[in-house]
């Protein structure tokens, strides 16, 4: 029998409450703008593509939604120019911080 049950129970419930609060805040706010992330991705890619050749399949978009701030991370893999070089990779991480993503 777990004697700490009363404490851990309260703890897990408060974790649940906080997770739901964050999630629902984002989902309610997103109501009309569900496509915001794809739009941001396309526009950021377009800017980068003006200067460097970009393979659309080599783009990773990550998000971490937080209480006050969300972190959007767009990682674009850029191939090294001379094709003869054996494959070192460079990545350019475009980080956009926004409170309302």
């Amino acid at each position: 029998m777990n004697w700490f049950a009363p404490f851990t129970r309260r703890k897990s419930a408060s974790v649940a409450r906080e997770r739901l609060q964050i999630l629902l805040t984002h989902e309610r706010a997103a109501g009309g703008q569900a496509d915001l992330i794809p739009i941001l991705r396309e526009e950021v890619l377009a800017v980068v593509a003006k200067h460097v050749a970009v393979d659309v399949d080599k783009v990773q978009v990550k998000i971490e939604r937080g209480k006050a701030v969300s972190l959007l991370e767009i990682e674009i893999e850029l191939p090294c120019e001379p094709a003869s070089r054996p494959k070192p990779r460079q990545t350019l991480a475009a980080r956009l911080e926004s409170a309302r993503i």
Partner: protein, 271 residues
């Protein structure tokens, strides 16, 4: 070769999502590559149970429609390296899921994963039939309660007629997973017994998951039951069930009202 497993039940609230997450995590822990896939378009919850709800960017529909590649939509679990989640869309209409789209995504998943575990929505509509369409095996989640057993029977009928395997004239492998089982109530005769359910549905038993507060606690924390407290009774039951699904013959014991004092204590608390 990849195994596609659908977790289904017909009735809602019996533990499909909990089961998908728990079995997926347990199999991945043994080193196999596992993708858990949410088919509940518009009402996704597998992301929440897996604790990845804040990290969903692209979902199933994006991949199905070819907007992004599968690798861009898969979310890697932070605890187990070989466990991945493909979320359902929360904002699209459920008709956004098409036959071709599902076939494409499952086909791609088969190339890179050992196990693809599909979390079916409740009901018998499109989402549920699409979740089972490409399955090699099914886990029918059932509560020892009349409406759940009846709905499970209906799903067994659909598995035998609506899946690709059934259409090819092959047999789809079906397993019964009994969840929220309370040995005290079953002992008192207030709950359908294990033998009763097996008898009615005539499916081989994959496992019995006892009713337990550990399940709710794990979902509060966003952790599959098998990872949150691996020594808890439901975690052990799910881990054993996962082993059996992988073909390891682990003997199955029906939980009984054995230790009178403790179980009386628990029954009073549960009542």
């Amino acid at each position: 070769m990849a195994q596609v497993v659908v977790v289904t039940s017909g009735k809602g609230g019996v533990g499909k999502t909990t089961t998908t997450a728990a079995l997926g995590a347990a199999i991945a822990q043994s080193g196999q590559r596992v993708a858990v896939v949410d088919f509940d378009v518009g009402l996704r919850n597998l992301d929440l149970i897996m604790g990845a709800e804040r990290r969903v960017v692209y979902d199933f529909i994006y991949v199905a429609q070819g907007t992004v590649r599968l690798s861009q939509a898969l979310i890697r679990d932070k605890r187990i390296e070989t466990l991945f989640l493909l979320a359902a869309s929360q904002t699209r209409d459920k008709d956004a899921l098409t036959d071709d789209g599902v076939a494409k995504v499952i086909g791609e998943l088969r190339e890179t994963f050992d196990w693809i575990i599909c979390d079916s929505p409740a009901g018998i509509e499109r989402g549920a039939t699409l979740a089972m369409r490409h399955a090699d095996a099914a886990v029918v989640v059932t509560n020892p309660e009349v409406s759940s057993v009846r709905d499970s029977d209906r799903m067994i009928g659909l598995l035998d007629s609506k899946t690709e395997k059934a259409r090819r004239g092959e047999r789809i492998e079906k397993h019964l997973l009994l969840t929220r089982y309370d040995p005290v109530r079953a002992g008192r005769g207030d709950m359908l017994r294990v033998e009763d359910v097996i008898d009615i549905l005539s499916l081989p038993l994959l496992g019995i998951i006892p009713e337990s507060e550990d399940v709710l606690r794990a979902s509060n924390l966003g952790s599959p039951v098998t990872l949150n407290n691996s020594r808890s009774v439901p975690a052990k039951a799910y881990t054993d069930a996962a082993q059996r699904l992988m073909g390891v013959p682990i003997p199955l014991e029906v939980p009984t009202d054995r230790n009178g004092f403790l179980s009386k204590l628990f029954s009073r608390r549960a009542a």
